[in-house]
């Protein structure tokens, strides 16, 4: 052990490092209190968060690997996986373009009603998923505003793939904008102004200056947006019609299998979604650890 350093004698005088403050005896608890609180917190996390996760995989493998594999290879399960990937592949890029446009408008300019606009962008987060689905049924369903017109032109939105895409777009609407707005707010407009003053046009400034500045934040937003898009249940369940092999996404397929008491198959499909969640969490932690400085302040550790 090196002797303690008197930081005030250093030139220039320095405050003690943060860890020293953290171990300062007067502002922490007795060891037994610390131990008790830590144990209680970790026990709560294990019972309430980790146990459900573990049970997904054990239930899925209850009948062995062969049965697990067989349940994933059924045509209905494969169709559900394909549909989930398709829906995410449409909804996420659309919300990506919107998120970038909204963040550009909100952070590079000053205008009246900006805070109100941000609140409106956030609205889908506070709407119940079931209501998020219902609003499209009221618009495009058989008895909806546009129902008769759509029926006359043989266009199917509700109980078809377009409805699922719309509902998914609604519930994942704010994710990317929400991630980019605080980040671009912090970055300001100096970099873009410098590029413009050096003769770049608007697009060049965007592609060569803004995009490199926000790329990690963008990826972070896309990651969360995608996780929600692939996992959405309530909103999609209302508009899908649950047609096997056609309008069944993975979460909906889990429900159908579960309600048929086909538990192994239900948990097998669920385990794929749980795997997606784990990958999302791992990438998210990695981004926070590696590129924390290039994410919005709320995600820095």
């Amino acid at each position: 052990m090196s002797p303690p350093i008197d930081h005030s004698l250093l030139d220039p005088p320095r405050l003690p490092f943060e860890p020293l403050l953290q171990r300062n005896a007067v502002i922490t608890e007795q060891p037994w209190v610390r131990w008790l609180l830590t144990t209680a917190a970790l026990a709560f996390l294990m019972v309430f968060l980790l146990l459900p996760l573990v049970s997904v995989f054990t239930e899925a493998l209850r009948g062995g690997f062969k049965l697990y594999w067989e349940s994933l290879k059924t045509p209905d399960a494969l169709a559900a996986i394909r549909l989930t990937l398709t829906v995410a592949a449409i909804a996420v890029p659309l919300n990506l373009v919107f998120g970038v446009a909204a963040a550009w408008a909100v952070t590079k300019f000053e205008f009246r009603g900006k805070l109100f606009l941000i609140t409106l962008i956030d609205l889908p987060f506070s709407v119940s998923p079931v209501v998020s689905g219902l609003i499209y049924v009221l618009m495009f369903g058989a008895q909806g505003w546009f129902g008769p017109w759509l029926a006359a032109h043989d266009i199917h939105i509700i109980f078809a793939v377009p409805g699922i895409v719309l509902a998914t777009m609604f519930v994942t609407f704010p994710f990317i904008a929400r991630e980019l707005i605080p980040l671009m707010q912090e970055q300001g407009t100096d970099d873009e102004q410098a590029a413009l003053s050096l003769g770049a046009n608007g697009w060049q400034a965007f592609w060569h200056v803004t995009v490199p500045n926000i790329k990690w934040g963008l990826l972070y937003g896309v990651l969360l947006c995608n996780a929600r898009a692939m996992g959405e249940f309530g909103a999609v369940s209302v508009v899908s019609g649950h047609i096997r092999g056609e309008t069944n996404t993975m979460p909906l397929h889990v429900e159908i299998l579960y309600n048929e008491y086909n538990f192994v198959a239900a948990f097998a499909v669920a385990s794929l979604l749980a795997g997606l969640a784990l990958i999302t969490l791992a990438l998210k932690s990695l981004l926070e650890a590696r590129h924390g400085a290039e994410l919005s302040a709320s995600h820095r550790h």
């Binding site: 953290q22 300062n24 007067v26 502002i27 922490t28 609180l37 209680a40 996390l45 019972v47 968060l49 980790l50 459900p52 996760l53 049970s55 239930e59 919107f98 909204a102 408008a105 590079k108 300019f109 000053e110 409106l120 506070s126 709407v127 119940s128 079931v130 219902l134 049924v137 618009m139 008895q143 777009m169 609604f170 609407f173 704010p174 929400r178 605080p182 407009t189 413009l196 965007f206 929600r228 692939m230 996992g231 249940f233 309530g234 209302v238 979460p251 889990v254 429900e255 239900a266 948990f267 669920a270 979604l273 749980a274 969640a277 784990l278 969490l281 998210k284 932690s285 709320s298 995600h299």
Partner: protein, 297 residues
């Protein structure tokens, strides 16, 4: 917000104001605003005479009561344990901290249908947890208690992630001052630390509550869904819709939307309170809540 740099967007040297704002407004209107307004137009079309019999019916009332009651209890549980978890993760070091920290966000990332069937399997009479509770006469799965368990799972990260940054930024010098003036550790925590994190705690509580009221996927598997007993309001909307009771579904949805928007105002006010406290102390203001997000509700 930084001070206004450009008095008028048209005089800003940065291009693209019209394009990006125009696109934002059109996309926002088409996907969010017009469909949401549709619910209110449809509900208004029913008139008060049409709305009251639906909203006042015993089944709807007990569903709303159940949704609010269970969300309130779950948010209260998360208030206590969320604060405990945030405290332990900010103040203490222990092995595996990083890994545990990542799992706190699990409810945001795990699709709710998956959470629903997993919790049901755990708390059913023959499940890992249920087999110990059943002999004690505690029935969790297929009972209102199961709804509380599901909503506790869903709501935990809201409290933890709202309290953590405030707790991290809290000035330790204040605690040292309290200690040097003779306060016991418990007095310092109660009188100095707790008031500082109270606004954030309440914000997290409100966020968890708001999420719980509308939650569907994780609840319907574990609830049992008996009318008047364990049938939540969002499920009632689905049932009415399946019976082609569009009017009924719209009425319940409009009621839930009004309540959600009221909650949103409360949350915004609480966040403003949190930020005011933080800016007073020269800390970067917490931006409007970053993680009102979740996978597959």
């Amino acid at each position: 917000m930084p001070p206004t740099k450009h008095p008028s967007p048209s005089r800003s040297p940065i291009p693209g104001f019209g394009l990006t704002l125009g696109y934002t407004m059109i996309y926002l209107s088409l996907i969010v605003l017009v469909p949401l307004a549709g619910v209110f137009v449809k509900a208004a079309g029913l008139g008060l005479d049409g709305l009251w019999p639906i909203l006042g019916s015993p089944r709807v009332l007990s569903a709303l009561k159940l949704s609010f009651g269970t969300a309130l209890i779950a948010a209260a549980i998360n208030l206590v344990f969320g604060m405990l978890v945030a405290w332990v993760f900010v103040r203490y070091e222990f092995p595996g901290k990083r890994l545990f920290d990542a799992t706190i966000d699990l409810p945001f990332a795990l699709p709710t249908a998956v959470a629903g069937i997993a919790l049901t399997a755990l708390y059913a009479g023959n499940g890992w947890v249920g087999q110990f509770l059943e002999p004690l006469g505690i029935k969790v799965a297929f009972a209102p208690l199961g709804i509380v368990v599901a909503l506790t799972f869903i709501g935990l990260p809201f409290v933890v992630r709202t309290v953590e940054p405030v707790l991290r930024d809290a000035e330790k010098e204040l605690e040292e001052a309290a200690a040097s003036l003779g306060a016991t550790r418990w007095q310092t925590v109660r009188r100095v630390v707790f008031p500082a994190i109270l606004p954030a705690l309440l914000t997290g509580f409100a966020l968890a509550f708001a999420r719980g009221v509308g939650e569907y996927g994780s609840v319907i598997f574990i609830a049992g869904n008996l009318p008047h007993v364990s049938e939540i309001a969002p499920l009632l909307i689905v049932i009415k819709l399946e019976e082609y009771g569009y009017a009924g579904a719209t009425a319940v949805a409009a009621a839930m939307l009004v309540i959600s928007f009221a909650l949103l105002l409360v949350i915004n006010a609480l966040q403003a309170w949190t930020n005011r406290y933080r800016t007073q102390r020269h800390v970067e203001p917490a931006l409007p809540h970053p993680v009102l997000q979740g996978a597959g509700a």
